[in-house]
């Protein structure tokens, strides 16, 4: 390429053309693209427009522009100077646009009457009629509760509201749950118990104000990369960083204290830290006395966890426990953020409560730079459970077992209270019920349990036992490939709606292109099914905006109050944090500043936490801890990211991370065996992991699936599976298991670029399993 002459470049035509039908009023201001007026640089001689929206992936919800060509097609991405991410994007965000017009997109409904048949493309009427007839057949023969619905936390909040309403009003079943159950329900349960409100206490920006940041069980660098800018910003101010993680992750590498804890021992660790805080007189007794209940019992319990005892349980030096206590409690302002590392456990709720106890006892709560937060894995992990998609919740976070709450919602929905079902079961329990033929039919929307649920053999058996299974998706996921009917639905770029990020900040996604012919929005499909089931009058929603208006009203007066949030306000702002009770209210980025919580007594209810061992016992046969997690290039079950060439190239296959003390060479085939089965992965030999622990990233299906090996034990309160620890052993194997290609629609070949990379036999050569970029 020749050099561009700046003088010539500056004289290029520079006006911006906007298609008013695509970019909504109030969002056409591109002055923040690059921090300078966009029309000074962004030539439009090609008819290109930028549509402001957000990333579809994790709970950070980075702002971005989608680049749309003059034909109305999304073809690229441009960074956006949004409050959350200030232009930053991670590789998933940069490549997300590629799924919008991907050749693997489903563009017609697929149908088959039995699993022995091949899928055939069919008309929308055929697919909808067959689904409705199967729902009727199953419910007439076995009762309404024999049919279930599983939603997803990557759906817009409007759609999650519709999923809950559709289950209770159209299907009349109590069995509705969502894949956020696999994500952050432990944190949600703990927050509700302690504070009466289910969300992070502080915005991301408070991280920049803190003096000590404690990150527990979160590989921020790979799972929430854009949040790292806040961490490094705090470090620039001199804040201490404490990281609790069995692996030396990218942030642990530079931490002041990295506690390489044994998986499944977190509450024993935090109890011991609190023990030291008390014995060294570092508690904030005035705050505790004025604002909390339950402190005496907590104090009594943590007395049983001296550092010497917890050091043995956790496999870390007692001196580190003392150090963490002194640094965290001694800081003027300290914050704790946690994620799946401490939540994916049969004691996930207790783990989160033990962190909350520490924050509260040291008075690090409800102040700028002091508080707690959980990092949501899915884009709408926070908003996805607020409006009735969860088995025990009604819109606005109301309890489905509370008579007053039931009455309120029945009035809004226009149904009799006797018609409203009670609480259902959780996602994993629904699979067990399918195995027992208690649930015989299922609709899945925006989830992929064949990869994301633990103990694959049980999941496959449950789904195979179901008499009817329909799935909404825009790619043929491993789970959709098992279905009788697959509805092709829109991507996030083809519809509008809101999501709530990890700060509980509600942001609006805008429509960037029309969906491909044959594709419908999830809203349209749900409303159409409801109409055919005879509940049409309750589902008269032309689009997301109308659903959002009902959602606002349904949430009014609740803890999760969205009433003051409107599409127009969201278009004008960088998002609004709920509760927001009126259209003049600015939102509530930081909680408990006045010391009051959302319990009726306004107090923080401190909870006693006792540590118990993980559910899968270590024996001579299974002496190691298997733990799982993400890699930066892939998202959840990988249904979206395993098809994008750049991301597949970055991380083509999973691996097992093992300590050098096991004697394996890098790339050598290693068989990982648990009580659920065994699989073979290439070894990634690194000193960045505990010798008694092995790690596998979980984005792939069998035969390279971490979740074929993990245990389906659940936390008794949150019903989250214990993904992060199970007993395992490793042994030498002959060859590694081949990485399967994602399923593609009938009659189409796999995406060629991704196919080449997927079959790449090379073992990982770097500590994070990624080959160093090729040089030619």
């Amino acid at each position: 390429m020749t050099a561009t002459d700046p003088a010539k470049a500056a004289s290029r035509p520079v006006s911006i053309s906007i298609d008013p039908s695509i970019a909504p009023p109030g969002t056409r201001n591109f002055r923040d693209a690059g921090g300078i007026p966009a029309d000074k640089w962004h030539a439009d001689q090609n008819g290109e427009t930028l549509v402001p929206t957000h990333c579809c992936f994790c709970g950070v919800q980075c702002g971005m522009y989608l680049r749309v060509d003059k034909g109305g097609k999304v073809f690229g991405v441009e960074p956006r100077n949004h409050d959350i991410n200030r232009m930053r994007l991670c590789p998933k965000g940069i490549n997300a646009y590629q799924q919008v017009n991907h050749p693997d997109r489903l563009t017609a409904p697929l149908m088959r009457r039995s699993r022995d048949e091949e899928f055939k493309e069919c008309s929308w009427d055929e697919a909808l009629d067959f689904t409705v007839s199967e729902i009727r057949r199953i419910q007439e023969a076995h009762g309404n509760d024999a049919f279930g619905l599983l939603g997803g936390a990557s759906l817009f909040s409007e759609k999650t509201y519709l999923v809950g309403k559709f289950a209770r009003v159209a299907l009349k079943t109590k069995h509705v749950d969502y894949n956020g159950r696999l994500c952050m329900v432990s944190a949600a349960g703990a927050n509700k118990l302690a504070f009466g409100i289910d969300r992070a206490g502080n915005p991301f920006s408070d991280i920049l104000l803190t003096d000590c940041l404690l990150i527990a069980g979160s590989n921020v660098g790979e799972c929430f990369p854009v949040m790292t800018q806040y961490l490094w910003g705090a470090r620039d101010r001199g804040a201490s960083l404490i990281v609790i993680d069995p692996r030396e992750t990218a942030i642990a590498r530079t931490a002041d204290i990295h506690v390489a804890i044994k998986p499944g021992t977190d509450s024993a660790f935090f109890n011991a830290v609190l023990n030291v805080v008390i014995s060294e007189g570092l508690t904030d007794e005035a705050y505790i006395a004025a604002n909390t209940t339950g402190w005496d019992e907590v104090k009594k319990t943590v007395a049983e966890y001296p550092p010497s005892r917890s050091a043995e349980i956790c496999g870390v030096p007692a001196s580190q426990i003392v150090q963490v206590a002194r640094v965290f409690a001694g800081a003027d302002k300290a914050m704790a953020w946690h994620a799946r590392g401490i939540e994916h456990h049969s004691q996930g709720v207790e783990n989160c409560l033990s962190v909350i106890n520490l924050c509260v006892a040291t008075g690090h709560i409800g102040k700028p730079g002091a508080g707690y937060g959980t990092i949501t894995g899915q884009g709408n992990g926070q908003g996805g459970r607020e409006h009735g998609q969860k088995s025990d919740l009604l819109p606005g976070g109301r309890s489905i077992t509370n008579p007053e709450h039931r009455k309120q919602i029945c009035q809004i929905w226009g149904i009799e209270e006797s018609e409203l079902p009670g609480a259902g079961t959780s996602m994993m329990e629904m699979v067990w019920q399918m195995q027992r033929r208690e649930i015989r039919g299922l609709i899945g929307i925006c989830n992929n349990p064949f990869v994301s649920l633990p103990n694959y053999a049980v999941v496959k058996d449950g789904y195979d036992t179901a008499e009817f299974h329909a799935q909404f998706d825009f790619f043929l996921s491993e789970t959709a490939a098992n279905a009788h009917v697959v509805f092709p639905v829109t991507t996030w770029a083809e519809d509008e709606g809101v999501m709530a990020n990890a700060e509980a900040r509600v942001v609006k996604h805008n429509k960037a292109q029309e969906p491909p012919a044959g594709v419908r929005t999830d809203t349209w499909v749900i409303c159409e099914l409801a109409r055919r089931l005879g509940a049409g009058k309750h589902f008269d929603f032309p689009g997301s905006r109308e659903v959002f208006e009902e959602l606002r009203v349904a949430s009014a007066g609740t803890v999760n109050d969205y009433y003051g949030i409107t599409y127009e306000r969201l278009d004008e702002t960088g998002g609004i944090v709920w509760p927001c009770p009126s259209t003049e209210h600015p939102g509530t980025p930081r909680l408990f500043e006045d010391g009051r919580t959302y319990h009726p007594d306004g107090k923080i209810h401190m909870q006693v936490v006792e540590w118990h061992p993980p559910m899968d016992a270590y024996t001579e046969e299974f002496p190691l801890s298997l733990t799982t997690g993400r890699t930066v290039a892939h998202f959840l079950s990988g249904n979206q990211t395993r098809r994008l060439g750049a991301l597949v190239e970055q991380t083509p296959r999973p691996w097992v991370e093992v300590h050098p003390s096991h004697g394996f060479r890098n790339g050598e085939p290693v068989r990982v065996v648990t009580r659920r089965g065994s699989e073979v992965f290439p070894a990634l030999v690194t000193e960045a992991i505990r010798p008694d622990t092995v790690f596998i990233p979980y984005h792939w299906p069998v035969p390279t699936s971490a979740n074929a090996l993990t245990i389906d034990a659940l936390d008794p309160r949150s019903k989250i599976p214990e993904y992060k620890v199970c007993a395992a052993r490793i042994e030498a194997a002959e060859r590694v298991d081949e990485v399967p290609a994602p399923p593609t629609p009938p009659g189409r070949e796999a995406y060629p670029e991704a196919q080449v990379s997927r079959t790449d036999p090379l073992p990982p050569t770097s500590p994070q399993g990624r080959g160093t970029a090729e040089r030619s």
Binding site: M1, T2, G34, C90, P91, G221, E222, V685, E687, P767
Partner: protein, 199 residues
């Protein structure tokens, strides 16, 4: 003294490769990334480092100096451009000459390709795509004053020692505080490489 340029801070790098993906999106070489992501201690730690073209200033761009076809142009503001498609003969001299291992050869096209500091963006006042998106600030685009305002006390180096040759670059590297050594003319410290004292 350097103007607006890229500063690389390996201490902040999380190895996410957002820079690699972003570089691929850049209009000047869409579809190909000109950034390498290297791991500095494989098997020991996850430490990583993004490598962009250092836009050498003194001696003037070794890649351009050895180019037999005069295909590599250096602009007045010090940006070393990738090879001119009409001149490049694909001989790989530039690849061998670069002390940082940056240029790539597209053998089919017989063309050298490398980071040109997103000239298509910087010419309009925007930051290069990689430094724009970098989630951690491991790649920062701006002046030294802007960097130091954001990161108080940060020290950078723009001189590197290779055997007997000292190479001064347009792109600078953030230096860990305990590695800052000798001030040199121009006011910037030098990173010790191969244990050689270059005072």
């Amino acid at each position: 003294m350097m103007g607006r340029t890229i500063f690389i801070d390996p201490g902040r790098c999380i190895g996410c490769q957002a820079c690699v993906s972003a570089c691929r999106e850049c209009d000047s070489h869409r579809g190909k990334s000109m950034i390498h992501l290297d791991y500095t201690e494989p098997g020991m730690s996850v430490a990583s480092l993004p490598s962009v073209c250092m836009h050498c200033e003194d001696p003037v761009a070794p890649c351009a100096e050895v180019c037999p076809a005069d295909a590599i142009l250096v602009t007045a503001d010090g940006v070393v451009q990738q090879a001119d498609t009409t001149r490049c003969i694909g001989c790989s001299n530039c690849v061998n000459a670069c002390p940082f291992g940056i240029p790539k050869i597209d053998l089919q096209a017989k063309l050298q390709m490398k980071c040109n500091l997103c000239y298509d963006r910087t010419a309009y006042g925007l930051a290069p795509m990689c430094a724009t998106v970098c989630p951690t600030g491991a790649l920062f685009y701006g002046t030294l004053e802007e960097l130091q305002a954001e990161r108080p006390g940060v020290q950078v180096a723009d001189s590197f020692v290779f055997g007997d040759v000292v190479v001064q670059t347009g792109v600078a590297m953030v230096v860990p505080a305990d590695k800052v050594q000798w001030p040199v003319p121009g006011g910037l410290p030098v990173v010790e490489i191969n244990g050689r004292d270059v005072r």
